[in-house]
């Protein structure tokens, strides 16, 4: 049982880590704590449903469609909601992302109906047995893809010129402006990346369960994940995601299924009181 829970915790944690990574990219670049990140994940799942079921696209093209649609969504959100609120209070910016998620949810429910959809993909759904351990191929693929995405984006930030400009922008907006960086373009790119990572996470969540707006709650677990890991830290987001995945699975299996929220948010509260900058974050930030 322990190994089984450990495996599914790590697999789900990898997906949370992916969504949380997107969240952290947006937060680092634009200082926006995006409460719509969970809904972006849901949108990713529905874009995939649209591409596969409605448009009849082959799987590869469907994924490209989903990525393009998510990126567009992220860019539009930044242009029409975040940029006009530049310099405004934190509450205004938090609320606009909440309002965005309300509008997106309503739109999805009107367009697709509130009942869930099944996502059919050619991904293998079998089970590999290693002794007592049952490894779902889908969980395994989700975890591996998540890690691949994290590695790709890590390399992008580390080794490419655009990645460098994005890191520079996150380091300081004004410094980037005086250095000739097109800060708005970098911020839009950050929102596009954030939404795409959420969308990929949503695709897997939708495949492991069923595609419905209720996936938002799972996507929103990226929030505590990011805080626990450290909001300013990209590796922190990934570690935080893994931790939240493990905690959710272990609490759900060993305590009670209802207890997952309280354990995760209890830990969040503890971290905020003891180490507000998160496990991997830097001390100077967010302190009294």
């Amino acid at each position: 049982m322990f190994a089984q829970v450990l495996f599914s915790g790590l697999a789900l944690g990898s997906i949370y880590g992916l969504v949380a990574l997107g969240f952290a990219v947006v937060f680092k670049a634009t200082d926006v704590f995006n409460f719509a990140q969970g809904m972006f994940a849901v949108c990713g799942a529905y874009f995939a449903v649209t591409a596969i079921s409605a448009l009849d696209l082959p799987f590869g093209l469907a994924i490209l469609f989903m990525i393009a649609a998510c990126a567009t969504l992220g860019v539009l959100a930044h242009i029409f909601l975040i940029q006009p609120l530049a310099g405004r209070s934190m509450l205004a910016i938090i609320m606009v992302t909440i309002a965005l998620s309300i509008v997106l949810r309503a739109g999805i429910e009107i367009f697709y109906g509130p009942q869930g959809r099944v996502l059919t993909t050619p991904l293998p759904s079998g089970v590999i047995r290693i002794g007592d351990l049952r490894i779902s191929q889908l969980h395994l693929i989700a975890a591996l893809t998540s890690w691949a995405c994290m590695a790709i984006f890590g390399a992008f930030f580390r080794f490419t010129s655009v990645g460098l400009l994005m890191r520079a922008t996150a380091d300081g907006h004004e410094a980037a402006l005086v250095s000739g960086v097109n800060v708005n373009a970098m911020n839009r790119l950050a929102w596009a990346i954030g939404a795409v990572l959420a969308g990929i996470g949503g695709l897997f969540l939708g495949q492991l369960q069923i595609v419905s707006p209720e996936l938002e709650a799972i996507g929103l677990l990226a929030l505590p994940a990011v805080v626990i890991g450290g909001m300013q830290s990209i590796p922190g987001a990934i570690i935080g995601g893994l931790l939240v995945g493990l905690i959710a699975q272990f609490a759900g299996s060993y305590i009670s299924p209802k207890s997952t929220d309280i354990v995760i948010y209890g830990l969040l509260l503890l971290i905020l009181m003891v180490r507000p900058w998160g496990l991997l974050g830097q001390r100077e930030l967010g302190r009294v």
Partner: protein, 364 residues
């Protein structure tokens, strides 16, 4: 910012109070007293009114609105005036409801005493929830209120399942002494003075020395310290007052519904209060009333309006009839977005500007 929160303007407005203002006030009072009779008899001065002439509104809707006003007032006091952002306000509603269940439903204490207990429990919960504010600031504090929300909802859920089960917690019919609050109209005349009391009470609190320090703290922490205030104590006091009011509102809400489950106090319940104060106007107490009114009444009005589309077909029907709740949600979301971008002061600010434009008076 609106007039309600600037003590200097309040004083100026008081000094200017003219006989004309008293007439307006008397008319407002008369309308407030007569309105519930119009809504129950569905007629005005004996002339029957159609459902649409009454905007599809019923008195229960108005009562829910009055309770929501308490929540919006208390949150706006905390967020708009004291600058403490909370997205866990539903937790205090849940605290109030849970306290009412323990002392009312289980121990059978009289209703007014139950409300007092709810207020005390709310204040205590508020102080606990405000403790992280001693450690963390800004976004981190917002997240701690979110965490508190999940903790309280979990406790409510455990309590509910320990004593009552999945159907939820029942609440007895409230009564004050011999008078049972057993009809919408009685609820109305119980809630209306309560809202007025909280509204004017908070207004006075903000006009005191501590209240001014609180607002100074929102704008600049050092300014408040310079006024000789211990900001940390002040913050906890603000939290205690705000959550006490919210807890009373939660107890009332549970009694009005006669039954409550932990799902009632979910995260969306908390978000609606933030939406109300943004629609009404951050930092404006009168705006809180407006915001709560819009949030609670607009869905009913939209439902009334879409009934005209009952015979339609195709996409119009899909959107207007089959997905009415989603349509309402979308409209609310868009209202919040549009107000945030184009009218940061909310409706209170818009109305003040409109009045200034119409009467040429400078306002706020």
């Amino acid at each position: 910012m609106s007039d309600t929160l600037a003590p200097a303007t309040v004083a100026a407005a008081r000094a200017k109070t003219s006989p004309g203002k008293w007439i307006v006030r008397a008319i407002v009072l008369a309308v407030l007293i007569y309105a519930p009779f119009v809504l129950t008899s569905r007629s005005i001065f004996g002339i029957p009114l159609s459902n649409m002439q009454l905007l599809n509104l019923g008195l229960t809707q108005i009562n829910l609105m009055l309770i929501a006003m308490l929540g919006a007032l208390s949150l706006n006091f905390l967020t708009g005036s004291a600058g403490l952002i909370s997205i866990g306000h539903a937790a205090f509603y849940a605290t109030g409801a849970m306290t009412a269940a323990i002392f009312g439903t289980q121990l059978g204490w009289p209703f007014p005493l139950v409300l007092v207990c709810a207020a005390i429990a709310g204040a205590l919960a508020g102080i606990l929830a405000g403790l992280p504010s001693l450690r963390v600031r800004g976004l981190y504090f917002v997240l701690s209120t979110l965490a508190v929300h999940y903790v309280v909802v979990f406790l409510f859920q455990e309590y509910q399942f320990a004593f009552f089960g999945v159907v939820g917690v029942p609440f007895a019919q409230p009564s004050i002494g011999p008078i049972a609050i057993d009809s919408p109209i009685r609820w109305y005349f119980f809630l209306l003075p309560l809202v007025a009391l909280v509204y004017f009470g908070l207004r006075n609190v903000l006009a005191t020395r501590e209240g001014r320090a609180l607002m100074a703290m929102r704008d600049h922490e050092l300014a408040a310290t310079a006024m000789g205030a211990d900001v940390r104590i002040l913050r906890l006091k603000a939290f205690a007052l705000s959550s006490a009011i919210a807890a009373v509102a939660g107890a009332l809400y549970a009694h009005l519904l006669t039954n409550a489950t932990s799902e009632v106090f979910g995260i969306n319940f908390a978000i609606q209060f933030i939406a109300m104060i943004i629609i009404g106007g951050l930092g404006s107490l009168s705006g809180s009333l407006l915001g709560a009114a819009v949030w609670l009444l607009l869905p009913t009005i939209i439902t009334g309006l879409t009934s005209f589309a009952a015979d339609s077909t195709g996409i119009v029907r899909t959107v207007l009839v089959d997905h009415r709740p989603q349509l309402v949600q979308m409209i609310f979301g868009l209202i919040v977005i549009v107000l945030l971008i184009f009218a940061p002061g909310g409706m209170a600010d818009l109305i003040a500007k409109l009045r200034a434009a119409l009467f040429g008076r400078r306002h706020g």
